[in-house]
């Protein structure tokens, strides 16, 4: 069973702890994260997402960030996090 998580529009310093908790609650199962609503990504949430990817990989499970909005992908790349998988939403 694959769990799903929808990211909020703003992933700033305030969202880092809730995001970590939400993800931890889904541990032990494959997760698909919907990034289509994201408008702003801060470094602390970036940490959480990369750590989650590494953790899930160590668990032998998949964690996919899917449907990343254009802004989300652009900021993700601007952080230099390009070797961490991020599937972008198909342009409409």
């Amino acid at each position: 069973m694959t769990a799903a998580l929808v990211l909020p529009a703003v992933l700033d310093i305030q969202q880092a702890a809730p995001l970590r908790d939400d993800l931890l609650a889904l541990r032990g199962q494959p997760v698909v994260i919907d990034g289509s609503a994201v408008e702003r990504l801060g470094a602390l949430c970036l940490q959480v997402l990369i750590s989650a990817q590494q953790t899930w990989a160590r668990d032998g499970l998949s964690l996919q960030i899917d449907q990343a909005s254009e802004a989300f992908a652009a900021q993700w790349n601007a952080f230099g996090a390009t070797d961490y998988a991020l599937a972008q939403r198909e342009p409409a």
Binding site: L24, G42, L44, Q47, V48, R58, Q75, A78
Partner: protein, 721 residues
């Protein structure tokens, strides 16, 4: 002054001086935007002003200031990029924000009470709402990743710069920045994304992320910082510019900056090189597809996408830079002025000696002396000009005052300023702020009517206060006028009578009634209002103007408004004085205090109580003070008809006649402080050195008159002037 021995403090002092200028630029820019006379460069200049304040404040750990400036700057950046319209509500909010920013600066400087937190927080919320509200919420995304269209409408394409940098060694010079933020940095509301963007303003940046320190999600502390970035900047700039991008977080991160290539990095002209590069890069960009394949320098990370490509607008043009200036310690200037004062005296002495020795006729010497005199005059003028400053620094503070007083009183006010560039001695400029502030407050509070009253009187609902400065016959004249109701003479007269300042049946001209407001103890506010009634009456304003050797006058037309005119000397370093002698001593009386002089007729002098002399002058008995006696130069009084009486007016408006032996003439003298060189002497304001080398004391007219009064312990004469 701050302890100059502490270099950090000295830098801080400089920072705050710069803040004053930056805040001035900020307000000027915002007002231009408000008036609709702004171009792109104005918005850029406004942004830079706030950004520079923030940068400096970060270096000194002034967190409140940094936080506020940051929010302010973010909104300005949106406007600058054209993502937000500069509509009137936004400009109004920006103006208020500039006021609060100024408050933050004053508070950080320790000059003012802490900032009104509620007001500051409300504005932060307002600015944030303006930044994030509206059509483009993904603000940061846009700026961070998508190149901005520049002023030519060109939108550069993102591509890999590392492949381009290699074949051209000249362009290869750049910087490697290793940046590891601490948790503290995030806690202070700084964001790596914005710093990366800041750096990318300098040129193309390759970003490599090192996430190896990241723990398992279960052990990850959300507020902790685990990531390290390696940023390769391909731009010919100096190291300071690179560090500048991080200058307000430097204390909260690990930062190393090292040169990338063997080629020495440019030490100046950071803006010149990228232009060429951009042209080359664009040419290649159109020729090649933007493929991203190169191997980036950091081991664990493979592909790299560059951050925003450069645009011509990415590096701020130095176009708006003001005239070239240097900062000089005021003490040095004063020392120079002092020495030049000596030079002027020496020159006068030399001239006198030449005359005395009868050499003047010898043409060669007299021509040389004249040239020398011209030169010394020119030097003196030039040196005085160093201290001269435009009144702009004072005028600039007034728009805010007008906004605030307007808001408090519910009146609509427009401030017109003229002659901001008029120059006057620095000391005078500094001491002008308070009286002008007070008079503008008065003009709005007492002078202007409420909007509905104005409309009823057939005027525009918006009142106008005009503040103007101009030079007139060697003095600076400041005019503060309003188009309000004018002075209510009935009421002024009534108050003066009720306060016992004039007798009820006194016959006064309109002018005399208007001038009653300058009397001590007069205040027209029935109830002490928040705005004008701060315990400072117009008498205090007049005193502070007179202390500067100035005069204040008023002209008022009922229903049309009032005009206050200040006339001040251009400098406090020289003084126009009347050179007089008393008991073989040479003295100087300030010309501003002198009303007229006369030779007393024996019949005009009367003695009250046998020894206190008064002189009948314009049908009034005026105390006659023998200066030689008062100063202790002689024991026996001078017969009045043998001397000259000089009628003087004190700062409080009281008149007295000073009796001297003779008047020698009128002269401009260089003021030398007596306190600094000797000690304070009652009745003496300062000293000067005359052409013959003798020291002459400059009289403190007020002190002499007050002193003479105390001695005779006579009740004050009733004055109505």
């Amino acid at each position: 002054m701050t302890d100059a021995a502490d270099p950090f403090e000295a830098i801080k002092v400089t920072f705050f001086q710069e803040c004053d200028e930056l805040l001035g630029d900020l307000e000027t820019g915002l007002l231009a935007i408000e008036a609709g006379s702004a171009d792109d460069e104005t918005i850029n200049a406004v942004f830079r002003a706030v950004h520079s304040v923030k940068g400096g404040a970060g270096a000194f750990g002034l967190e409140d200031l940094v936080r506020f400036a940051h929010v302010f700057e973010t909104l300005l950046d949106e406007l600058r990029a054209g993502r937000k319209p500069c509509d009137p509500p936004t400009v109004k909010a920006l103006l208020r924000a500039s006021d609060v920013l100024a408050d933050h600066v004053s508070a950080a400087r320790g000059q003012a009470a802490p900032v009104d937190e509620a007001r500051s927080a409300a504005l932060v919320a307002e600015l944030e709402a303006l930044t994030h509200g509206g059509a483009a919420p993904a603000a940061i995304a846009d700026v961070l990743a998508l190149p901005e269209a520049d002023e030519f409408g060109f939108r550069p394409v993102a591509f890999d710069f590392s492949t381009l940098a290699a074949p051209e060694p000249a362009a290869a010079s750049g910087w490697r920045v290793t940046f590891r933020p601490h948790a503290r940095m995030y806690a202070k509301a700084n964001e790596t994304a914005l710093l990366l963007r800041e750096l990318s303003r300098l040129g193309p940046v390759e970003v490599a992320l090192d996430a190896s320190a990241l723990p398992d999600l279960a052990e990850l502390v959300a507020e902790e910082a685990y990531l390290t970035w390696t940023l390769d900047l391909a731009a010919v700039v100096d190291e300071a510019s690179v560090r500048e991008a991080f200058d307000f977080v430097e204390a909260d991160c690990d930062l190393t900056v090292e040169a990338l290539s063997d080629a020495p990095a440019a030490t100046d002209a950071p803006d010149s090189a990228p232009d060429l590069d951009i042209a080359a890069l664009l040419a290649r960009a159109t020729a090649e597809a933007p493929v991203i394949e190169s191997a980036p320098p950091v081991v664990e990370v493979a592909p790299v996408v560059p951050v925003a490509a450069p645009t011509a607008a990415a590096t701020p043009a130095p176009a708006a830079q003001a005239a070239v200036t240097i900062r000089v310690d005021l003490d040095r200037v004063d020392r120079l002025i002092n020495v030049v004062g000596e030079l002027v005296i020496q020159q006068a002495m030399l001239a006198q000696r030449v005359i005395e020795s009868g050499l003047a006729r010898s043409s060669g010497i007299s021509v040389g002396l004249e040239d020398l005199e011209l030169l010394t005059r020119e030097i003196q003028d030039s040196v005085m000009a160093i201290r001269a400053q435009p009144v702009k620094s004072v005028f600039q503070r007034m728009p805010r005052l007008v906004r605030e007083v307007g808001e408090m009183t519910g009146k609509r006010v427009r401030l017109l300023t003229e002659g901001e560039a008029t120059e006057v001695d620095k000391t005078v400029v500094e001491r002008l702020a308070e009286p002008i502030t007070h008079m503008i407050r008065n003009a709005i509070d007492h002078g202007l009517e409420m909007p509905e009253d104005r409309l009823a009187a057939g005027k525009s609902g918006e009142g106008t206060v005009r503040l103007a400065a101009l030079h007139r016959s060697g003095r600076i004249v400041i005019e503060i006028s309003d188009d309000g109701r004018g002075i209510n003479r009935e009421r002024v007269r009534g108050i003066a009578v009720s306060r016992g300042l004039i007798v009820e049946d006194a016959v006064l001209t309109d002018d005399e009634i208007d001038n009653l407001i300058f009397l001590p103890g007069f205040s027209t506010a029935d109830a002490i209002s928040d705005i004008s009634g701060r315990g400072v009456g117009m008498d205090v304003v007049r005193k502070s103007i007179q202390a500067l050797g100035g005069r204040i006058s008023i002209a008022s037309v009922p229903g049309k408004g009032s005009t206050f005119t200040l006339s001040l000397p251009l400098t406090l370093a020289v003084l126009d004085g009347m050179v007089v002698s008393a008991a073989d001593q040479t003295l100087v009386a300030p010309l501003t205090a002198i009303v007229e002089s006369l030779t007393p007729r024996p019949g005009d002098v009367h003695y009250v109580g046998g020894h206190d002399a008064v002189i009948l002058f314009r049908e009034q008995f005026t105390p006659l003070i023998d200066v030689g006696m008062v100063m202790g130069f002689r024991d026996a009084a001078l017969t009045p008809s043998d001397g000259v009486a000089v009628i003087v007016e004190t700062e409080s408006g009281a008149r007295a006649a000073l009796l001297f032996d003779a008047i020698q003439g009128q002269r401009q003298v260089v003021i030398k402080s007596l306190e600094t060189n000797y000690r304070q002497v009652e009745g003496v304001a300062a000293a000067t050195i005359l052409g013959d080398g003798r020291v002459a004391l400059i009289l403190d007219v007020d002190a002499i008159v007050a002193n003479a009064r105390r001695r005779s312990a006579r009740p004050e004469l009733k004055l109505a002037s």
